[in-house]
Symmetry: none
Subunit: 407 residues, 2 copies
DNA sequence: TGAACGGATGAATCCTACA
DNA sequence: ATGTAGGATTCATCCGTTC
């Protein structure tokens, strides 16, 4: 209790000055948005936006005003139950997640913990808010059942298919090649946010499915400690968080992450001009997360403008390139001769320069030329090292990288 | 209770005459196979093989001998509003799902039903048996949590990615493009069947992952009623069942399907020369399933022979190689690069050069490298005609000579 | 400069026959 | 039941070094 009170007190002084400017009211007004909120359910107390609260996540959530966040993204302990150590065929040791925070005495203990943080998160959610929880077969069934018991309304279960999972070294099971996300509304009657058109437009004009393919978080993206070892055992890829936030929030929305860890949620939220509230028990992680987030540059607002309404039927096609970093939101596209220019947006649509037109690469290409139709993949070009390439080659690169995994 | 007794009595007369011949003993002997079974746990009563039992699935399972089936494949009802079997433990009926209370009541009823059939299935399983359960986000979390509570040991959760899912018409969610299977052993110490090598060999020599891609059951495969409408609402594709059976059973094994429906499990079991026990409440479905299964031709036995598996090959001691003259005492062994040397001794041990260490090929190999363990068969090499071969090929020669290598 | 190669590593409930 | 020893087992990707 002490730490909660202290955290709350320490916060209030800074609340009016978030670390970086909140979103310009482009699409949705930032104040009191998103549907009616029952009187009394929401405190007027300001939120500790874009901060990391240190301490017990349940207590910290309890100290937040009720009904105040638009989205919860939670990556709770998985309660792995590992036996001895596991070695690869070459006798090297697998660096398993054996941290103390992942150890629970029993299913009952894990359930009690899960129930408590789920309740606290549900309290913090706006009535129309939604929540993502990620887990593996070790814990996700318990989490899902408890969510249903507590009144959450499951909208989808989503499969993160790992492009490069760790193999099964002993050949005794199927390669554990995915994790599961549960996406749920606070209740069955929530009027939740789902950016259907933008997602579809960024996915070759096909609805986004419940199975997502992303590589693990490795290489440059993976945070390292001073000795070059991974800083956090379970850092999630930014591409995964980007799809989560782009699908279920608007610019300016508030995202709560009760298991903040290395701060992926905060970094992506800042880049996409959402606000975040992180809760983390270990100061070491929080410190690294702060530095990480400070280095993030929010995308240009034009890259995040809410997509056109369904009636305007955007025809877009390349959000995967954006999510995966093959094109940067804000990057400029031109036609082969440089007569037309457009800017890439984070959701995979593009906006034509000197005009209000926003839409898919195909539609905006047609608009620019005054033509009825246009293949955006060959019409639009990016400049790399002084040379213009059609964006189709970026798509080819992505396909090459995905290899067989993309099927 | 009446139906149970009747079902059991009606069965016994036919039990000794399965519909089609049981498997020839290709890979595994059909009688009393697959590990020790605690005395008293298994009844000697014959099983109703390759039949469809009509009636309540829990009662019918309870009438089966305990510890008698190798695999359970279960496709339980997903929908909480299915009515019928959804009753409270006191047999009162559950009202419509309107508000939270009823929702809770409904979940409780579903849980009670699930727990009951899971317990009955677990009782029917051999100690080393495994179970697959398929479901969607509506029910799979409850099923999975209950399985863990009842002592099942989850081996994998598997995602059936639908190649051609039904689109989401209202555009309010991600396309629900997958279903989840849970694969679990009866208990954590089960010595379960997993045909790792065969699966890998059939998958471009890469181990099979936890995400499987199959089309829905449509077209010719989909059973139709006399009016041309689909006979059963949730008929599963045979390809899915084939992978389930091929991964976790041997020819001749007994597969129990407590929600038999249109009989996909039976049809695939027959084709793959496994035996099945189906339980189905509705005679209409059972009738169609019987006709369907009768038309199935079992695959030729040669098509079902398991590929050789190093794990299952008979053990050959290194001393046997020495005794049989495949290696001469005093011969020199080296590692692949010739950095370490050892001398073969007459008793099948080896001694490391320039050291007092004597022991098995494995122990001395580990010692030489300073490793904890070592597979001496692949580590140590002999020189023949100027070329180095791992001593494993000498073992293969001995096995060939013994006539075992064919299997 | 680039290709080729070797080493490292990722939320992992990862063996089994025999004494 | 428990301990000991035999011996079977990995995919995609990134990074640094070598050729």
């Amino acid at each position: 209790m002490r730490s909660v009170a202290k955290g709350a007190a320490g916060r209030t002084a800074r609340l009016c000055r978030p670390e970086y400017p909140a979103i310009a009211p482009l699409a949705a007004p930032p104040a009191a948005p998103r549907g009616a909120v029952p009187a009394g359910a929401v405190s007027d107390r300001a939120l500790p936006l874009n901060e990391i609260l240190i301490g017990d996540t349940i207590a910290q959530m309890a100290a937040l005003p009720a009904g105040s966040v638009d989205l919860v993204f939670a990556d709770p302990p998985y309660n792995l139950q590992l036996g001895g150590e596991l070695k690869r065929p070459d006798e090297s040791r697998v660096d398993a997640v054996d941290d103390h925070w992942d150890q629970f005495e029993s299913f009952a203990a894990y359930d009690a913990f899960t129930r408590a943080w789920l309740l606290a998160a549900r309290r913090a959610l706006k009535p129309n808010g939604t929540m993502f929880v990620i887990g593996s077969y070790h814990n996700i069934f318990r989490v899902g059942a408890l969510m249903q018991d507590l009144g959450f309304w499951i909208l989808n279960d989503i499969v993160w298919r790992k492009a490069n999972p760790m193999p099964n070294f002993r050949g005794r099971r199927f390669t554990n090649a995915h994790e599961t996300l549960i996406w749920a509304a606070r209740s069955a009657d929530s009027k939740y946010t789902f950016n259907y058109e933008a997602l579809k437009a960024g996915n070759e004009d096909v609805q986004v499915r419940s199975d997502w393919l992303f590589p693990l978080c490795t290489g440059q993206e993976r945070l390292k400690d001073e000795k070059g070892r991974k800083l956090h055992p379970t850092q999630k890829p930014e591409a995964l968080l980007a799809r989560v936030l782009l699908s279920s929030t608007k610019p300016g929305d508030v995202v709560l992450d009760p298991f903040f860890g290395s701060g992926t949620t905060g970094a992506v939220a800042k880049r996409l001009r959402r606000s975040f509230i992180g809760i983390e028990r270990e100061e070491t992680y929080a410190e690294a997360a702060r530095a990480r987030i400070a280095a993030v540059e929010p995308l240009p607002e034009e890259a995040l403008v809410a997509p056109p309404s369904a009636r305007e039927a955007p025809r877009v096609a390349f959000s995967a390139l954006v999510e995966r970093g093959f094109v940067t939101p804000g990057a400029e596209l031109t036609d082969a001769k440089g007569r037309f220019r457009a800017v890439v947006r984070a959701d995979g649509t593009i906006s034509l320069a000197d005009s209000p037109n926003v839409g898919s690469i195909h539609r905006v290409g047609a608009l620019a030329q005054g033509a009825e139709a246009c293949n955006g993949w060959t019409f639009w070009h990016v400049e790399e090292e002084g040379r213009r390439h059609p964006i189709d080659i970026l798509r080819a690169r992505l396909r090459a990288e995905m290899g067989i995994a993309a099927e």
